[in-house]
């Protein structure tokens, strides 16, 4: 009975938020664009392979080895033109989108796991533990991370990747090569940078929730501390967490693009929107399409993520201030 009641209440809260989100026209456009983008990068490369036979690495045979110009403007065959080496840019942009979105999403998940557990534990235990844990967050806040991330990525980049990163990337990513371990290093570095605000948000929420009756009831019925935190408190702070996570993804993607632009992020044989744009910049005045298509695709995605995050914030917790 109690279970049923909670179930009904839960869905109505989310349905309510969904209704509010649908009223926000810009957020809906953002959501549609985002879903379209995710579908495009997931199945797009297969469709291109089936229809035209191009992949991200394939150099069409009409491009001669040592020819003067290999980069062709957009045409019917190559909707986004070709890159320096004559590879189909559309295939590369879609393939790069996979990496960009993957870096954004996985780094956000890393920051979610660390930040939510950290904030929930600090908030639930309170007192001295909370004090110490939050002081540590304050200390981390003051550190200019970008300096450390740059050092981390450049000294551990390429062949110098730490053993556990290489092992992890071989286990999950399959064939162990430098490019893949660099991407895993990015997940790790960017995730560790962005958990601080998440920890603060969650801690504040848990602090105000832990004296509610449902926590008392859970404790009275013998639920373990771990169970109370992760089964009862964390699901109740999902609203702000989702909002903040939606806004973390674009900021992580921007940082990844920035690092790739400096040559520290995603590296060959892989490409991301950031590294494609960085490649395009070299030839901007002669082959502008090499810059325009990757960066417009990325800007559109970030645009929709930002609008969606804004709309979700209005829909899920109307009380917080809108930035």
């Amino acid at each position: 009975m109690a279970e049923e009641l909670r179930q009904i209440k839960g869905t109505s809260l989310w349905r309510d938020a969904w209704k509010r989100l649908l009223k926000n026209r810009l957020s809906v456009i953002g959501l549609i664009l985002l879903v379209f983008m995710i579908i495009a990068v997931t199945i797009g490369p297969f469709i291109i392979l089936k229809t035209t036979g191009f992949t991200a690495d394939y150099v069409p045979s009409q491009v001669e080895e040592g020819g003067l110009v290999n980069s062709f403007p957009p045409s019917f065959q190559h909707p986004m033109g070709t890159d320096e080496a004559g590879r189909d840019l559309l295939a590369r942009v879609l393939q790069g989108g996979r990496i960009s979105l993957l870096v954004g999403i996985i780094s956000t998940i890393v920051s979610l796991i660390v930040g939510v557990s950290y904030g929930a534990i600090a908030g639930y235990f309170g007192g001295r533990i909370d004090n110490i844990m939050m002081r540590i967050v304050d200390v981390f806040y003051a550190i200019p991370y970008i300096l450390i991330v740059i050092v981390l990525l450049s000294v551990f980049g390429g062949p110098n990747a730490p053993d556990f990163i290489t092992a992890l990337s071989e286990k999950i990513g399959g064939a162990g090569n430098q490019g893949m371990s660099q991407i895993f290093l990015l997940f790790f570095a960017l995730g560790l940078v962005s958990w601080l605000t998440m920890a603060r948000v969650v801690r504040g929420q848990v602090l105000s929730l832990k004296n509610e009756e449902f926590v008392l009831a859970a404790r009275a019925s013998g639920v373990s501390t771990f169970g109370i935190i992760f089964r009862h408190l964390v699901p109740n702070v999902l609203g702000p967490v989702i909002v903040y996570a939606t806004l973390t993804v674009p900021s992580v993607m921007l940082t990844e693009a920035f690092l790739s632009f400096l040559g520290l992020g995603v590296q060959a044989p892989y490409a991301s929107w950031g590294s494609l744009a960085a490649d395009g910049i070299k030839n901007i005045s002669i082959f502008p399409w090499q810059l325009i298509f990757p960066s417009v695709t990325m800007a559109l995605t970030l645009f929709s993520l930002n609008f969606l995050g804004d709309g979700l914030r209005d829909a899920l917790d109307p009380q917080t201030r809108k930035f």
């Binding site: 000294v155 400096l262 910049i281 645009f303």
Partner: protein, 305 residues
């Protein structure tokens, strides 16, 4: 208040040392070194070099040597730029980055604040929607894309401005705009949201009830409260400016500190990297302190103890 400032100033020192230690550890743990890029040296010469830089001692002695040098503000000579001290290199390259960074934040403040305030006064007007959509666009275009596009249009398209390099005032316009764009956008959004909230609060109603003119309500009472989110954004903005200048310096070929930093890390030029990291972390933390102090001036409700 004085106690608060003193306490915070004292915390900065161990924190800067922590950042330097982490950086040092990262550089040392990673395989390879400055000398691994060069051709192999005869063993006698290598031993001499190692002795000169104290690399033959155990790691904890090297660490304490490094920390004691850093505490004294002496970072030694750069490995790459032979015979030049790290402090000289920082002194030489800082002015470029500082000029661009300061100008960019100033421009961002002026444009962002005015756009945000006007948008909040005329909420839901065409200007409001237009400026906020532009701001969102500004947040979504990376500066390394914006920079080359500005160059393409204004330098290579209509020939109004020089495309790159350090020089006169006209050389500054494009780099500053490129760097300022994202902060302009963020500040405009923050100002608008802050103003909208403040203008609904009780003390504004009191000010209006006293019979103050709308201009004076807005300028004397509204802006003070509405600015607080903007002020608290200054901290993160500074860290971002740092990253931004790296990009802008690279795009516009400006000999600033950001590029020197990246190069030093890639060259494994340890003294130079540590020197720049220490300098920039202290700079950022001091600015954060100034931001915290200015809260108290803007919002009389905030007290320090």
């Amino acid at each position: 208040m004085l106690g608060f400032i003193l306490k915070r100033l004292l915390i900065i020192i161990p924190m800067a040392l922590l950042v330097v230690s982490v950086t040092w550890a990262l550089i040392r743990i990673a395989p390879g070194s400055f000398y691994s890029n060069e051709k192999t040296l005869p063993p006698a010469i290598e031993a001499n070099i190692k002795r000169k830089y104290g690399l033959d001692k155990p790691w904890y002695q090297q660490y304490f040597l490094m920390i004691s040098n850093v505490v004294r503000g002496d970072f030694g000579d750069s490995l790459k730029y032979q015979g030049e001290s790290v402090n000289d290199i920082i002194k030489r390259h800082l002015p470029y980055s500082a000029t661009i960074g300061a100008l960019a934040y100033l421009v961002a403040l002026m444009v962002g604040l005015s756009a945000g305030i006007v948008a909040s006064i005329r909420q839901n007007s065409g200007f409001d929607y237009g400026s906020m959509a532009t701001a969102m666009l500004g947040l979504s275009v990376p500066n390394f894309v914006l920079g080359p596009i500005l160059v393409l249009v204004f330098a290579l398209g209509v020939y109004w401005l020089p495309p790159a390099r350090w020089g006169g005032m006209t050389n500054l316009i494009l780099p500053v705009l490129t760097l300022a764009a994202i902060y302009m956008a963020y500040i405009a959004r923050l100002t608008r949201a802050g103003m909208l909230e403040v203008m609904r609060s009780d003390y504004i109603r009191t000010a209006r009830a006293k019979g103050l003119s709308e201009t004076s309500v807005l300028l004397r009472h509204g802006i003070r409260g509405g600015l607080i989110p903007v002020v608290s954004y200054t901290g993160p903005a500074l860290a971002g400016l740092l990253a931004g200048t790296v990009v802008v310096e690279k795009v516009f070929a400006i000999p600033g500190l950001g590029n020197i930093f990246i190069q030093s890390v890639l060259n494994r030029d340890e003294p130079l990297t540590l020197g720049i990291v220490a300098f920039l972390s202290i700079l950022i933390m001091v600015f954060n302190l100034i931001v915290d102090i200015s809260y108290g001036i803007l919002d009389p409700r905030i007290r320090y103890d």
